[in-house]
């Protein structure tokens, strides 16, 4: 009988160890991080065009970027892009 009571108490404590608010918090942290990092396609397009404009002041670049996207690791966000430079104008090196 004593064993049974012990078992019941142990079982109850086991399930109580992780209170449900902890999992609510953790899930929210993840989901909010992801939500906040979502950049709308419009913004991405605008950013891409602005970058192209700035770069073409110095370089001749290919119109279509080979890669242009936001990448995420656990802690950080990266803007990853691969842009083909077609020509380096002579004055770029001298100034």
């Amino acid at each position: 009988m004593r064993e049974l009571i012990k078992w019941v108490i142990a079982k109850r404590d086991q399930t109580r160890i992780v209170a449900s608010k902890i999992s609510a918090r953790e899930r929210l942290q993840m989901v909010l991080m992801r939500d906040r990092m979502d950049v709308s396609p419009d913004i991405m397009d605008a950013l891409k065009n602005d970058m192209k404009d700035v770069m073409s002041r110095y370089l001749v670049v290919e119109d279509d970027f080979q890669e242009f996207a936001i990448h995420r690791s656990d802690e950080s966000v990266f803007l990853v892009s691969n842009i083909l430079v077609k020509e380096l104008p002579r004055n770029t090196a001298t100034t």
């Binding site: 209170a19 449900s20 608010k21 902890i22 609510a24 918090r25 899930r27 929210l28 942290q29 989901v31 909010l32 939500d35 906040r36």
Partner: protein
């Protein structure tokens, strides 16, 4: 002096926006201010029933905006408060029949006559939301301690910032102190950590709020209701008083229970 226009919003539906609007509006009027509350949930009006004014509606928000009636004809005076008015939403129209510009124009007229213009925002983030926030300079976000409501609140905070409405204040509704104590519900600190906004107040889940709403009387009139006391404090804070957040620790022990039953525990829930 120009009045303050405040939008009450949440993203998610059913978290208590309308009840909050009714109670804050009533609370501010009880403090001697001239207040108008506007229901912008066109097609799904509810603020009228929460305030118990559903039988007095003749004109609505769309009538005022379209000029089918004068502004003052479309404002319904509250049953208990001389200085509280409601502009109800249209029930048989669609949210696209008014524009953000029209809402701005109406609110700037109201601001010259009232101390507070409170806007009850519809759920969602579409045109109805945009109309509701168009004229607001300040925002109150209502959430509950649930994952879905907090996620939507975060989204709305971002959208408000994009619309140049900064530093929104948060009301955490339907907190259950017993569950918080057992670690089964997120508390104020958890939510502040996640959303990084200032808390304007916490409202405990309260049966008396439901009975008050059944009767069409904002619960802030009920001196024995813990939720009413919470709304009193929130109102005082909006009005600039420095009132501490409510102590929601559940009263334990036999004497605590007895006192609670006898209504002697009101000290803990005192109205501001």
């Amino acid at each position: 002096m120009k009045g303050r226009t405040i939008v009450i919003t949440s993203g998610k539906g059913g978290v208590g926006k309308t009840t909050t609007t009714a109670n804050i509006g009533t609370g501010l009027a009880m403090r001697g201010h001239r207040v108008v509350v506007i229901d912008t949930d066109i097609g799904l009006r509810n603020l009228d029933v929460v305030m118990g004014l559903e039988n007095r509606i003749v004109y609505d928000l769309v009538d005022i905006i379209e000029g089918s009636c004068k502004m003052h004809q479309g404002m319904i005076k509250d049953k208990n408060n001389q200085d509280l008015y409601l502009i109800p939403a249209a029930q048989t129209r669609d949210k696209n029949c008014i524009t953000e510009e029209q809402v701005k124009e109406l609110c700037s007229k109201l601001e010259s006559e009232f101390d507070y213009v409170l806007i009850d925002c519809p759920a969602g983030i579409e045109q109805g939301f945009k109309n509701a926030i168009a004229a607001a300079e300040e925002a109150i976000i209502v959430t509950t301690p649930e994952v879905s409501a907090i996620r939507d609140a975060d989204r709305v905070i971002g959208l408000l910032a994009a619309a140049e409405i900064h530093n929104p204040k948060l009301i955490i509704n339907r907190i259950r102190p017993g569950m918080v104590k057992r670690g089964e519900m997120m508390d104020k600190d958890d939510i502040v950590d996640l959303l990084a906004v200032e808390v304007l107040g916490m409202v405990p889940a309260d049966d008396r709020l439901i009975t008050a709403t059944n009767q069409g009387v904002p619960v802030i009139h009920d001196k024995r209701a813990v939720s009413g006391a919470a709304f009193s404090r929130i109102t005082a804070r909006i009005d600039g008083d420095d009132v501490p957040l409510m102590d929601l620790d559940p009263k334990t022990g036999i004497m605590g229970k007895v006192k609670e039953i006898m209504g002697m525990n009101r000290g803990a829930y005192s109205h501001a």
